[in-house]
Symmetry: C2
Subunit: 316 residues, 2 copies
């Protein structure tokens, strides 16, 4: 089957028709007509078999996640996702796999009215690259550089689930943790929360490489530091139950793939922001404060400091 037949069969059906797409898949390039007066947000992420997912992972989960991690970047900017491009490398054509992949991708694309506008299919080791483009309103996008000393640090959802789910998938733990595995395989991008936070929060990042690494990026970009209170970090019932008395803080602080948002806000905006997020149904938790002192300090309830093993996922 040629590349063109592949696209025709599996990917054209999942393209939705947006008014700002004069020409979609099928030519040398797609043509887009951006809404006037808005900025565009571009992001691109790659998932490689054996690195970002197990080669035997379900095709629909891979399709879902390849879009989810990119939507999470839109969430972290407070941007509204619009157009996706997909490049798929596969060792050989596998129709069942492709159908599953397309279905997982479509599920999330449809939920956020994202149109697939182009891409590439090639022979090669299994790898997926997605480019996402969204709309941002000028002046309100959530940058990493906006944090200021005295800001409160918040996270959405729970941390550590995907890390524990990965331990299970890799058979490093014996206990079944289906919720955590689900969180690993089907992360929920916090797009709605990001859109609400735009213009209200001071800064945001999505937690893809672990809280310490990603909060570290905020601190570097904003030239500040942070105090984190371990007992305030939100943990799922399944994770708490697995660890019983004492969670593995290294996992909670350094495992990636949760795709929750970490954001900071000035105390004066706290009530307003919390009300908006409550209305949205997005769980959030204050976990610490931005400081002038550089570095991130993780405090135990007794006031002692926790010394983490690492800072997060290192790509090389």
């Amino acid at each position: 089957m040629s590349e063109f037949d592949l696209i025709e069969r599996y990917f054209r059906p999942l393209t939705q028709s947006r008014a700002d797409v004069p020409l979609g898949i099928g030519d040398d390039a797609a043509l887009l007509l951006p809404e006037p007066g808005r900025q565009l947000a571009f992001s691109m992420d790659t998932l490689v078999a054996g690195v970002h997912f197990l080669p035997q992972a379900a095709a629909d989960d891979i399709g879902y996640k390849s879009l989810a991690v990119n939507l999470s970047d839109m969430a972290a900017m407070g941007a509204e996702p619009a157009w996706a491009s997909l490049s798929l490398s596969m060792p050989q054509q596998d129709d069942a796999w492709l159908a599953g992949f397309a279905e997982g991708f479509r599920e999330l694309a449809q939920a956020w009215q994202v149109q697939l506008v182009g891409g590439d299919t090639t022979r090669g080791p299994l790898s997926i690259t997605v480019h996402i483009c969204g709309y941002a309103n000028p002046g309100v996008a959530l940058l990493r550089s906006g944090a200021q000393p005295g800001d409160r640090i918040y996270v959405t959802g729970n941390l550590g689930d995907a890390g524990l789910g990965l331990a299970r998938v890799l058979e490093k733990i014996d206990v079944s943790v289906p919720y955590c595995v689900q969180r690993l395989q089907r992360p929920e991008p916090r797009v709605a929360a990001g859109l609400k936070l735009a213009g209200l929060a001071r800064c945001a990042i999505d937690i893809s490489d672990g809280l310490l690494a990603d909060l570290g990026h905020i601190c570097e970009s904003s030239q500040c530091g942070a105090d984190i209170y371990l007992q305030q970090i939100p943990l799922s019932a399944e994770l708490q139950n697995y660890y019983q008395s004492q969670p593995d803080w290294n996992l909670v602080l350094s495992a990636g793939d949760d795709y929750e948002l970490c954001f900071t806000l000035t105390p004066e905006k706290e009530a307003e922001i919390l009300a908006v997020l409550k209305q949205l149904g997005t769980p959030v938790q204050c976990i610490g404060e931005i400081t002038t002192q550089p570095g991130i300090r993780c405090h135990h309830p007794d006031g002692s400091l926790f010394a983490p093993d690492g800072k997060g996922y290192e790509h090389f």
Copy 2:
């Protein structure tokens, strides 16, 4: 070295500052401010080691070509390239390789004022995905669907060089063909010609999969066919010299990677278009006509038909 150090060291220096990029590399997404009233053209292509280039190919050639193939898609739409995103998967960090890759990429990015605005670096089998975004003026982009019976079919440059260069690189031929190898490794995207053709030519495509395959896409999209006259197909001196009396027409018609443009024009516009391209210094040649009869027929000078082995590069 972390992903962030890698980006900082090798890729930030090659980003040029464009006025339409409010926020470049370094956050969850780049922010772009498109020029009002213009359309955007999106395209994305992947090059995989061992499939699209030899693993031992020079890093700077790979960097150059990964952008060149995407610029060629802009050329085929008559679009003006603006922003690129780059995803790079590598088995391990190799500083000399990265420096070479970045240099080859930069060379072409600088020539076309393309700013690198984002991307991803991951561990994995060597593979490069580039997303390119350019500007198209509404109503003048070059679509595959615009050809009409009676149109003359033109190509830029020469065909078959990259195919012969590949045969040499794969050691399938004994004779040195340095010009053809150069054409394989450093294809010149016909961006300037594409910009001139926008609004004048009826349709265009870039020849990445071979003339028959790519002209075939025009014919399918435009619901027409084509007559091609073999003796009119432009061939380089090196290729003619290699083949002496009779070129390998299968190679000339079906080998990909030349990245020349194939376009059609109505005879009334011929003089105007040829004058514009002559001024630009872009060599072009009429190779046949669009017909109502479907299919592509390749005519020998004696009137007999050539029957090609295949239609072009099949991805699977």
